[in-house]
Each structure stands twice: as structure tokens, then as C-alpha cells.
Amino acid sequence: MAKYHITTRINGDDVEFLCAPEQTLLDVLRDDLRLTGSKEGCASGDCGACSVTIDGRLVCSCLVLAAEVGGQEIETIEGMADGDRLHPLQQKFLDFAALQCGVCTPGFLIAAKALLDRNSNPSETEVRYWLAGNLCRCTGYDKIVRAVLDTAADMRD
């Protein structure tokens, strides 16, 4: 079967990979590049566990073909911490117990970061709508929303 040779940037590094036409970006990240932080919850765009940004735009990597990302700038959860130093959102999720099983967490963190990159002072309603495409079966959402609002407040100080 035809393979496509793709050159892209992931978390600031130049990356090359070969993919089949039907492989999604999520498939390649997890199965070929071993970046298994992005999760597959549904493979249909409903749960947000596979969230990444492409050229700064939040998307579901399960709904992107790997062949599409040539020349683009991809950010995944693996690029969020600075070495051993957690991103403020990651630290706040721990402090606020905003995760239990953790399957949804990478997606929530990527989505929340994309929000705070655009809006340093979102209202609770804005946070809830922005994160409506991220599903969590464990936490009941409230701790996640508090963690995002509190991180935003810290980062503004």
C-alpha cells in the first residue's frame, strides 16, 4: 500500500514519519511515534481525549488524517511540561484533584491551555463552553473548571 512521507514539527522538534492514507494523526502519534499521551476515547470527535493543536488551533487528532499535517506545527501533551517543571495548569490539576482515572486529562489540559493562550481572564461560562467537547466520566467537571479558573488567576498575577 502507498505510504506517505510526512515532514512536520511536533512540540518544537522536526519529525518525519511514513503513514498510510487512512491513518489518523492520533494513530501515528500513538502507534508510530509512541507519543501515547493523547488518548482515543471515541474516535468520532465526541470526547476530546485526543485533543492537540495544529498551528495553534485546537482539534481532535482522531478526525485529522496523518497525511494532512505536512509542514504544520503540532503541540501535544508531551510538550506541555518544561522538562521536569510542570505547566501551571498541570500543577493545578494535581493540587485541585481535577483528575481521577486520568484518561481525559491530557485532552483537558491541551484544550485549557489553548483557551488561556487566547483569553487570560475567561469567565466560568466561557471555560465550560470552551471545554464542552471534552468529556470526563470521573470528576464531575467542577474541579477541572475551578483548576482552569485558578490557573488563569495565578498566571495573571
Binding site: 470527535g45 495544529i54 481532535c60 478526525l63 488524517l65 497525511a67
Partner: protein
């Protein structure tokens, strides 16, 4: 399956027209990838149209805007002057899915997927939007209401695709709006969707109107009788009731888990009234 990302409209047409086995256009992929994964479709070729300038640009044209068929909802919403001119269309596009879906989903894909419940379609029809189609036979400009012929069915011929959508110029004292009814507040499919666009004359009377309704028939419908109930008079409660009655009269919905026939018809009228009042308020304030 093969994947191609042509740089020009002509290259896209050659690829689409030159491939047997149901080639598919790829815009944001938020419908297409779900259908691929579920095995509903098995195309020989996928033609990604996001490398083509014309399908990805928003350009001013004759006082209106030409929106590339593959422009995402997120980019549409960030366009301030377009959002001021056609707020109803932009709010309809903004209703599609989550932030993640917004990052990819296009109006061209929403239209060509031809779901009866597609949110942007009634808003585009109400706006009097037209589509630029390109195919092996050349180009043509077609009103949005003529594109879909049934669920999953369009007038597009082999090798033809939607290049862009034109949101026309409009006079001052004009407004449009779109609302859908869903049982939840986010992430659901419309039970009914209504788009209204209207203009007021210097005398405050309605000088032009277009009303369209979605999810209550095999395709979204333009409702000329609803517009006639508004045009030529003051848009008061009586006119709005007559408009809503005309909307109810064209509904041919199905019974499903989201609503019964009677319920959808009732809600269509209620929603039409609400949407009309929002469009009226917007028209009055421009």
C-alpha cells in the same frame, strides 16, 4: 485509498473527475473521517481542498464576502466585519460541535454532507447565499437552497465541488439570526433550526425578508410564504404569528427519539417567532 492535496481548483477537478470509485472531497473531515471510520464510505481517493487559496480564503466581494468552502468555523467567527454583516450565519456555524470541531468544520462540508439538520444551511438560505461550483463542465453559481436534494444527496455532478460561498451585500437596517432547538445546551443535533433575514425601509416597514427552516423535511426549506407574511408591513405580533403559521405549514418532519412530528411542527413555529424578533432587533440597531 489514496490521499491528494492539490494546489489549484483545476487540479482538484482533474483528480475528482479522473478517478473511479467514489472520490471524496476532504474539507475539515469532521463528517468524512467519522464516516470513513464507521465504514459507511470506502472512497478510492480523498482530495483535500485545504491547500487551495480559493477554498480557504475570506475575501470582500461587491459589498459582501466570499467565504472559501473549507474555511473553518473558528476562522469565520474571528472575522469581525463578516460577523457584523451576517451575525446569523456566523452564529449558526458557531453552533457546530465543540471548540475542537470548530477548529476544522467548514460551511462547505456542512452543506455538502447534506444532513437535513445541518445548522448553517437554513442560515445561509435565509441570507440569500450562493455557491460557486467548479467541475469538468466549468463553473456555475447556484443558490444554497438548490444544492441539497435529499439526505446525503446533492446536485453536484461527477468531478464537481463547492469552491466558495458568497454572502451578499445588504442594505443598512438589515439583520439576520439563526436558532436551533436541541434537548441539551451543547453538542447535539437540531430538532428544528430556523434562519431569518430581513430588511426595514425608511418607514420602518419590512422591505425584504427570507425565512428558512431545517430538520423538518428531507432538506432545509426556503419558505416564501413566511417571508410574504412579513414584507410590506410593520413586523408586529400579528405579522410574526402569520409568518410562524407559514413555517409550520411547510414542515414534513419525521418521528424520532428527538421529537414527534407534532412536536417538531409546534417548535418550528415557536422558534421562527423568536428568530424573527432577534433579526428585527438587529435590523433596527444597524
Amino acid at each position: 485509498m489514496r490521499y491528494e492535496a492539490p494546489q489549484t481548483v483545476d487540479q482538484a477537478i482533474s483528480l475528482l473527475a479522473g478517478t473511479h470509485g467514489n472520490p471524496r472531497v476532504l474539507a475539515g473531515g469532521t463528517d468524512l473521517l467519522v464516516q470513513l471510520r464507521a465504514g459507511f464510505i470506502d472512497p478510492e481517493l480523498i482530495v483535500d481542498i485545504k491547500q487551495i487559496d480559493e477554498t480557504t480564503a475570506i475575501t470582500a466581494e461587491d459589498g459582501g464576502f466570499r467565504v472559501g468552502a473549507a474555511v473553518s468555523g473558528a476562522r469565520l467567527k474571528e472575522h469581525d466585519t463578516l460577523s457584523l454583516l451576517w451575525p446569523g450565519v456566523v452564529e449558526a456555524a458557531d453552533l457546530i460541535g465543540s471548540t475542537q470541531i470548530q477548529g476544522r468544520a467548514s460551511m462547505g462540508g456542512n452543506l455538502c454532507n447534506a444532513s437535513p439538520a445541518a445548522d448553517t444551511v437554513p442560515a445561509l438560505i435565509a441570507a440569500g447565499a450562493t455557491c460557486a461550483l467548479a467541475g469538468p463542465g466549468g463553473r456555475r453559481e447556484v443558490p444554497v437552497e438548490e444544492i441539497c436534494t435529499g439526505p446525503g444527496q446533492t446536485i453536484l455532478t461527477d468531478g464537481e465541488f463547492v469552491v466558495s460561498i458568497l454572502l451578499p451585500a445588504r442594505g443598512s437596517r438589515s439583520g439576520d439570526a439563526y436558532l436551533r432547538f436541541i434537548p441539551r445546551t451543547e453538542m447535539d443535533i437540531a430538532v428544528v433550526g430556523v434562519g431569518v433575514s430581513l430588511s426595514l425601509g425608511a418607514d420602518g416597514q419590512c422591505s425584504a425578508a427570507r425565512v428558512a427552516v431545517g430538520a423538518v423535511a428531507p432538506t432545509a426549506l426556503l419558505v416564501p410564504a413566511a417571508a410574504e407574511a412579513l414584507v410590506g408591513g410593520v413586523v408586529d405580533d400579528a405579522a410574526i404569528d402569520a409568518m410562524a403559521a407559514a413555517v409550520r405549514a411547510v414542515c414534513r418532519p419525521i418521528d424520532d427519539k428527538r421529537g414527534t412530528v407534532a412536536y417538531r411542527i409546534e417548535v418550528a413555529g415557536v422558534l421562527a417567532g423568536r428568530v424573527c424578533r432577534i433579526a428585527l432587533e438587529r435590523a433596527g440597531s444597524t
